[in-house]
């Protein structure tokens, strides 16, 4: 075995060791590496009184603007499809906030089950589409932004050709 081979084997062995150490560490700390918990996670364990981030979609038809006590407030439900959490928030909402949008709210869960938020962030998804495409998809009834993510990009050009005949969703 030449010195080059020795060095090669040594580096590969170190790499293997470090790699598995990192993998184990990341797996072990996986719960702490998440930026937010889902409504399902929140329902599973008792987080009352602890500050945490809750992430999910703004449930359709639940956004209520309240202007009590002078400042603009909002009340909505955050859902992940299987569970939902009522949220109250007072303050400025990000521009992207709407029904069906992914949001992350920072706050605490009150004993009555309501999540009192001190910060609302909008989560952008991985879809990028021009306004015209979004309008065409909505007009043809193939996509409702309030109900969920848009159809796959490969089908975006279709509604221009066939405006009717596709069931929504």
């Amino acid at each position: 075995m030449t010195r080059k081979h020795k060095r090669l084997v040594l580096i590969l062995a170190c790499g293997l060791g470090l790699g598995s150490a990192a993998a184990l560490t990341l797996t072990a700390f996986s719960d702490n590496l998440v930026y937010f918990v889902s409504p399902t996670d929140l329902a599973k364990s008792d987080h009352t009184g602890r500050q945490l981030r809750l992430g999910g979609l703004v449930e359709q038809g639940t956004v209520e603007r309240t202007s009590a006590t002078g400042s603009a407030g909002v009340r909505f439900k955050v859902t992940d499809g299987s569970a939902d959490v009522p949220v109250v928030y007072k303050g400025i909402l990000p521009d992207l906030f709407r029904e069906g949008q992914g949001v992350i709210v920072l706050g605490t869960r009150e004993p009555d089950g309501v999540f009192r938020a001190s910060e609302v962030l909008a989560k952008h998804d991985e879809t990028y589409m021009p306004k015209e495409v979004a309008d065409a998809l909505k007009k043809s009834g193939r996509w409702n932004p309030g109900a969920g993510p848009p159809p796959p990009a490969s089908t975006w050009n279709e509604p221009i050709k066939q405006v009717t005949g596709q069931p929504p969703g």
């Binding site: 080059k4 060095r7 090669l8 580096i11 170190c14 790499g15 470090l18 790699g19 990192a22 990341l26 996986s30 590496l33 998440v34 930026y35 937010f36 918990v37 889902s38 992430g55 909402l93 990000p94 521009d95 992207l96 709407r98 992350i104 910060e119 609302v120 962030l121 909008a122 989560k123 952008h124 998804d125 991985e126 879809t127 990028y128 589409m129 021009p130 306004k131 015209e132 495409v133 979004a134 309008d135 796959p152 990009a153 490969s154 975006w156």
Partner: protein
């Protein structure tokens, strides 16, 4: 070190040794360089004009989406640059190539600058889109760690009086830091993050409208060529600097020898 590598190259006949010969590298890179710079400048300029003035705005982000044409290529190059740094470090540690050492030293600042621009443009996009300049989610934090790794490498390779020791220490740091690259890439899939998952992948169609995807791909190619051009230029300068230093040292030592004789 130069003398040793050039003496070893004809005998071993290893492919790497041919390119490790500094003279050969200067000749070859001199010929390649204009083919990196000019297409790089033209593609980047064209793609940015396309992206800023002609590509459509996004239906919910509006014109903010145009930051993507800088942010995404810089993010890719920040990771790709670190990968190149790690490859140079591996070659340097195993085969002790002087050229790999020089390339690693010159890659560091370029990669750090690209990472910094990626973080800055991302922050500019994050404020209007998410509502926050910065959050400590897994993606943003791992890219910040990448910047720290670059900065650490820059400092470490220059921290020793004997440059060879600096190269070794820097190479080990660079190889240890490689573990961060898969974390950056898959952070958005493994953990809940504020940052969105990848829009372009090897499997599955991209989720970007083609009218936005084309300028993005062109700007990515353009910036990649420019990145390569900057690194090659810096490495050429480093090789020439080392040669000049060698010549000056030889001249000084021969002059002092003659003085001693007379």
């Amino acid at each position: 070190m130069d003398a040793r590598s050039s003496a070893a190259s004809p005998r071993s006949g290893h492919v790497l040794h041919r390119f490790a010969n500094p003279g050969q590298f200067l000749r070859l890179s001199g010929r390649v360089l204009p083919w990196l710079y000019w297409p790089g400048v033209l593609l980047t300029a064209g793609a940015l004009i396309w992206g800023v003035f002609f590509a459509p705005s996004d239906w919910q982000q509006g014109d903010t989406v145009r930051i993507m044409y800088v942010h995404v290529p810089f993010a890719w190059l920040a990771s790709a640059g670190y990968f190149s740094l790690a490859v140079c470090s591996f070659i340097s540690l195993v085969w002790r190539h002087p050229l790999a050492d020089l390339a690693a030293v010159e890659l560091g600042p370029v990669g750090a600058a690209f990472t910094a621009v990626c973080l800055a443009t991302g922050s500019l996009w994050g404020k209007p889109t998410w509502g926050a300049w910065w959050v400590w989610d897994a993606r943003l934090t791992s890219v910040f760690v990448l910047l720290l790794l670059y900065l650490g490498h820059i400092a470490l390779v220059r921290a020793f009086d004997d440059p060879t020791r600096g190269y070794r220490a820097g190479a080990i740091l660079a190889l240890v830091g490689v573990i961060n690259l898969p974390i950056i890439k898959f952070s958005v899939d493994w953990w809940n993050t504020l940052h969105q998952p990848a829009s372009i992948g090897l499997t599955g169609a991209p989720t970007i409208a083609s009218s936005m995807l084309w300028p993005l791909l062109f700007s990515a190619i353009g910036f990649t060529l420019l990145f390569a051009a900057i690194v090659v230029t810096r490495t050429r300068a480093a090789v020439m600097e080392r040669r000049i230093r060698g010549l000056l040292m030889a001249k000084a030592s021969s002059a002092s020898e003659q003085e001693a004789l007379s």
